[in-house]
Symmetry: C2
Subunit: 658 residues, 2 copies
């Protein structure tokens, strides 16, 4: 184990300028980020002592103010006054994540989920009538998918929409308490309409889940007849968002309420769809809604960045315990344990930011107006990446914000220092817009299906080779002693060799995938205990999915560095990427050891390298968080103030200012 | 990898009765636990929508009500109307942790920290005048130690108490903004006095930190002259506790305000102490306050138990996705991934409960009235265990409650389902009453000092043998290839062999300790870069401390099982202990692989055994959480109700009821 280098003796002798680093991070939609920063930078967090009702009222005001900036419009089609900038609007959403997350989520519900569903599932009859008012924030709406009894398994929602040809109406009904729509944003207070997901039944036949644009309140705000609206009440966070519950008692809506881009019901009740297979139709519809998931991943990234900015700036000011040699108290970020808490998390936050940017670009390419017909394989890949990045990114945010809270000690527990709100608001990110475990399972299923095709496509010879590689791995595992020379990375292991890092991380993903595919194969046999086989391999499948996402994220980081021209930025990002990659390997080094990919000495060298990299990046920590470009107004809190704290700091933080 | 056994085919064929298991868990102070359950079981959680001021008022009422039960008195000396039941009062505190944690913490401040300091640092002049009123909750007080600038390093507090022989008074002063007393419970609203920790200066000489009983408000509640009282305002949680800030401007208190059990100042200003060494004196004083740390560990345990009770009961009701064979929706706790989230955490919660009971008994033995003079070694051991268990237990609680929140999905984010409050309230446990990282460092220093003595005491031959074992380990590590037969556990590895589990966990602790001791040795050389050497080994030291605590906890669990007579309880606890021990080994299996303690196959067998144990304990999960004996009233929430949820569930939870 080598001694840590002195903090001031970093390898990156020429630190990049803040501007150069920020420009790199801002990337393709730099102008959008800059616009949001300057427009919204004057917003202040709500007082933590606002009552739920007052907080909801304030956030509604902010939503209206946001609408007036014209920013939400940019994501909609040009013919309705938008700009068709699908990627830009997601980037703008992410930038909002530096501020009040209730605003972020309420805006996401209004324009992303509700407006987005109307746009992508509806047709011109819906667009003409509603889009403009939705964009302007005049018509507030809900996305009523989740039910009390069905959150993850939305294909089996129980709400029904039964077509009545006599009146040419759908009858929307909640047949049992578990079919109540639950956790619905904008429902408890402000929403006037809802996109209601329900099993479409016509002529006695069910055609699966479809979406219906349904008025839930009249202009005066009273619930429409037959609709019972409940309030989810106080939540752990996001209390500026009015989540509620909707129960329908045979509520009639006109035939035209069906958002009929993918399927329609004729006046006589005849069902038709451009997609014959019910399963495929459902997932096609869901797929168009991928933007919500991508936006949550972005919002989680902003929240993690903000927490790190606070903890690192505080860690550079806070001193505790003396250096015996000098008698001076040591800045806490100079302690290895403190660096270990914050700097690998910072490196991974960079990695996720680049992966997020790639994801947004991919979405923009596929979903922009004029992108042409949907390429199914590309769309599936997008959905898979979105699911994986949402899961990994939101878990990373939750863990990182927790670490930052603890790294700020008691000060991190005071609302005035902003971390409590961040922590409370983002906590639900790991389970909404898809429960993370379920999302990783989705990724797992996706990559197993692809793997099946890949192995098939190799032909007999390729399959044998592939199997050969597997066998080698299996031997190492079964003998239980790492007698075989480690296939990867071999004799000359250098932890900071990027090629070796990539091989390790990619190889792990491949090996886990092949293994789980092998374990699931027996489920294909007739009469097999499918659930038992799947369940016994569930942890394996989740590990494979996680490893797959790790590999994608690292590739995004590597690609981003390749694109950088500024040598100082490139050198710094290279070091950050080393720390990220080695932290990923270190976290799962048991796997690499168990599978003969790392020897004991190599594994310990990884840990040593992580320590060294923490010390090396320590002097750049402030620059790295400043480059996120979080408006100072959104970071204003007593523990970051230059003056000594005064009693005025105990006053409630000023309320929202437009 | 073996297939998971069917859930209904558990090895524990004869499940123990709930009563028998609960009796075992309740242990020595079963009557105290039962008393708190029955007295406090009717308290209801505060509405999450109470304003901070109203919530503080409610919790104050509850503190007064608690005082009327006579329960807090039991921890104080008999001559002042107490019962001297030092252990019982900590157990009672822990049982309060199932209810409102603001009440728990405010009670802890009042009777544990403030009352405790008066009792153990004061003498009869303080006891006669104040103890009765403190016990009765008539005199509310603060424990004013932490300063804005010094939280962990309390030996270097900056507040001064300078003796003025002319008036026979101490002058208490806050010389700089960083010396402000901060985060002080009971300070912002209710406290009338504070035990103020300050550097005692007399005759121009400083004698280190001492405690002064200082009035901070008059009877009408106005701050005393020269004292500025601030409010920490809203916090992430525990908003029923009024944390505040105290700034002293040359505040005069009589000479008798000094809590003078360990040191005194004569009228003429002469300083005297029974403990000559200033450092030792300070740590002796601090050591008497260990009860607070033990209480926090207990409260964290209760909170983790409550979160698990909710998540496991919900996990047995919630269904999602269908079993393809039956078409029936699967109970989520039947999924391996869900079991993996909750059941190892449950097993470790059991382990920590037994370790906590041992710690409380040890404290009771040492600190009960009539325990005789302080045995320094025993006291140091107690402090070390308390520090370690507080750190490990509160981190476990934070992680477990987070896991339970996610395991309940969106429902876990609603305040009505209780987990949000648990999560928010307990979050500060990891950094108050000692920052966990600093506490583990303390444990590390303690075990290194003991190790030095042990190795010395072995004599030359013993040292050589000891070193031999180390060398063997080092060879394995340095060669980097696990060529050597693994010293432990050797050929016949059986994951569920308790002796092998204990050897693995103890051996890891010993090896890490020896390693870090070796790395720190050069710091003893003259002119060595002490900080650099310490800092480079900091992560190693923290790992050694953590491993040491893991070993202690497992030994407590093993001892507890040994004491059980009921064979069905014994068998079930044996299985729970297997899961705990193997989960500990699995979490750090990279270490065991790197150090030749486990082969790759053995390491994978550990993971397989954890999976099998999860399936085996699945049918007993409900019994295991029911045995905590949490009053049903404290678990009442919509997701656990048998009836289908109704709109009434959206109403705010009823307020506190006495």
């Amino acid at each position: 184990m080598t001694a840590a280098p002195k903090n001031d003796a970093a390898k990156n002798d020429t630190a990049p300028s803040l501007d150069a680093l920020r420009t790199t991070l801002d990337g393709r939609w730099a102008d959008v980020r800059q616009d949001v920063r300057s427009r919204m930078g004057s917003f202040r967090p709500a007082s933590p002592d606002l009552s739920t009702e007052d907080y909801r009222a304030r956030v509604l005001e902010l939503v209206r103010e946001l609408a007036r900036t014209g920013r939400p419009h940019t994501g909609f089609a040009e013919e309705y006054g938008g700009k068709g900038d699908v990627g830009g609007v997601v980037v703008a959403f992410q930038a909002l994540g530096y501020g009040d997350l209730s605003l972020l989520v309420k805006a996401g519900v209004q324009w992303g989920l509700f407006g987005g569903a109307v746009q992508v599932l509806g047709t011109s009859r819906h667009h003409d009538e509603y889009l403009r008012r939705i964009m302007d924030g005049e018509l507030l709406g809900c996305f009523a998918m989740t039910e009390t009894g069905h959150g993850s398994d939305v294909q089996h929602l129980r709400t029904t929409a039964t077509y009545d040809p006599a009146t040419r109406e759908f009858v929307i009904d909640t047949p049992e308490p578990g079919a109540r729509k639950d956790y619905i944003g904008n429902a408890a207070r402000d929403g006037r309409m809802a996109v209601v997901f329900a099993q479409l039944v016509t002529g006695g036949t069910s055609h699966g889940v479809h979406a219906f644009l349904t008025p839930i309140r009249d202009d005066a705000g009273a619930p429409m007849p037959g609709i019972d609206i409940g309030d989810c009440g106080h939540k752990a966070g996001l209390n500026g968002v009015d989540n509620g519950r909707l129960t329908f008692d045979h509520v009639r809506v006109p035939r035209e309420a069906l958002l009929n881009r993918f399927a329609d019901v004729a006046e006589d009740g005849t069902y038709s769809s451009s997609i014959d297979n019910e399963n495929r139709r459902f997932f096609t519809m869901l797929g168009t809604l991928v933007r919500g998931r991508i936006s949550v991943a972005g919002g989680a990234g902003s929240a993690a960045q903000k927490a790190l900015a606070i903890a690192i700036r505080y860690g550079e000011r806070r001193r505790q315990f003396s250096d015996p040699a000098t008698g001076e108290e040591v800045v806490v970020l100079d302690y290895r344990a403190h660096q270990r808490k914050l700097l690998p998390a910072l490196a991974t936050t960079y990695a996720l930011q680049f992966a997020q940017d790639d994801l947004v670009s991919q979405m923009h390419r596929l979903q922009s107006p004029g992108a042409g017909p949907v390429d199914e394989a590309a769309q599936r890949d997008l959905e898979n990446r979105a699911a994986g990045l949402k899961a990994v990114g939101t878990w990373h945010a939750t863990a990182t914000i927790q670490t930052c809270r603890e790294a700020c000690g008691g000060a991190g527990y005071l609302s005035e220092n902003l971390i409590p709100q961040l922590k409370a608001d983002t906590d639900v990110f790991t389970t909404f817009e898809g429960d993370n475990t379920v999302l990783l399972q989705l990724v797992g299923k996706g990559i197993i299906a692809d793997y099946g095709k890949r192995v098939g496509a190799l032909g007999p010879l390729g399959t044998v080779r592939f199997a050969g590689a597997q066998v080698l791995g299996s031997v190492v595992e079964r003998t239980g002693v790492n007698k075989l020379p480690s296939r990867l990375p071999g004799r000359g292991f250098a932890p900071r060799d990027r090629a070796q890092q990539r091989r390790l991380i990619t190889d792990r993903a491949e090996h886990l995938l092949a293994g789980v595919a092998r374990r699931l194969r027996p489920a294909l046999k007739k009469g097999a205990d499918q659930f038992g086989i799947f369940n016994a391999a569930q942890d394996h499948m989740l590990a494979a999915a996680r490893a797959h996402v790790d590999a994608l994220v690292l590739e995004s980081f590597v690609d981003a560095i390749d694109r950088v021209a500024d040598p100082a930025v490139k050198a710094l990002l290279d070091t950050v990427c080393d720390l990220h990659a080695l932290a990923v390997i270190e976290r799962d080094r048991a796997w690499f050891l168990e599978h003969g990919r790392l020897t004991a000495a190599e594994s310990r060298a990884v840990t040593g390298a992580v320590n060294d990299l923490c010390a090396e990046l320590r002097p750049h920590a402030r620059l790295l968080v400043d480059a996120f470009g979080i408006p100072e107004g959104w970071l204003a809190c007593p523990i970051l103030e230059d003056r000594a704290p005064t009693e005025a700091d105990s006053e409630p933080v000023p309320s929202l200012v437009g």
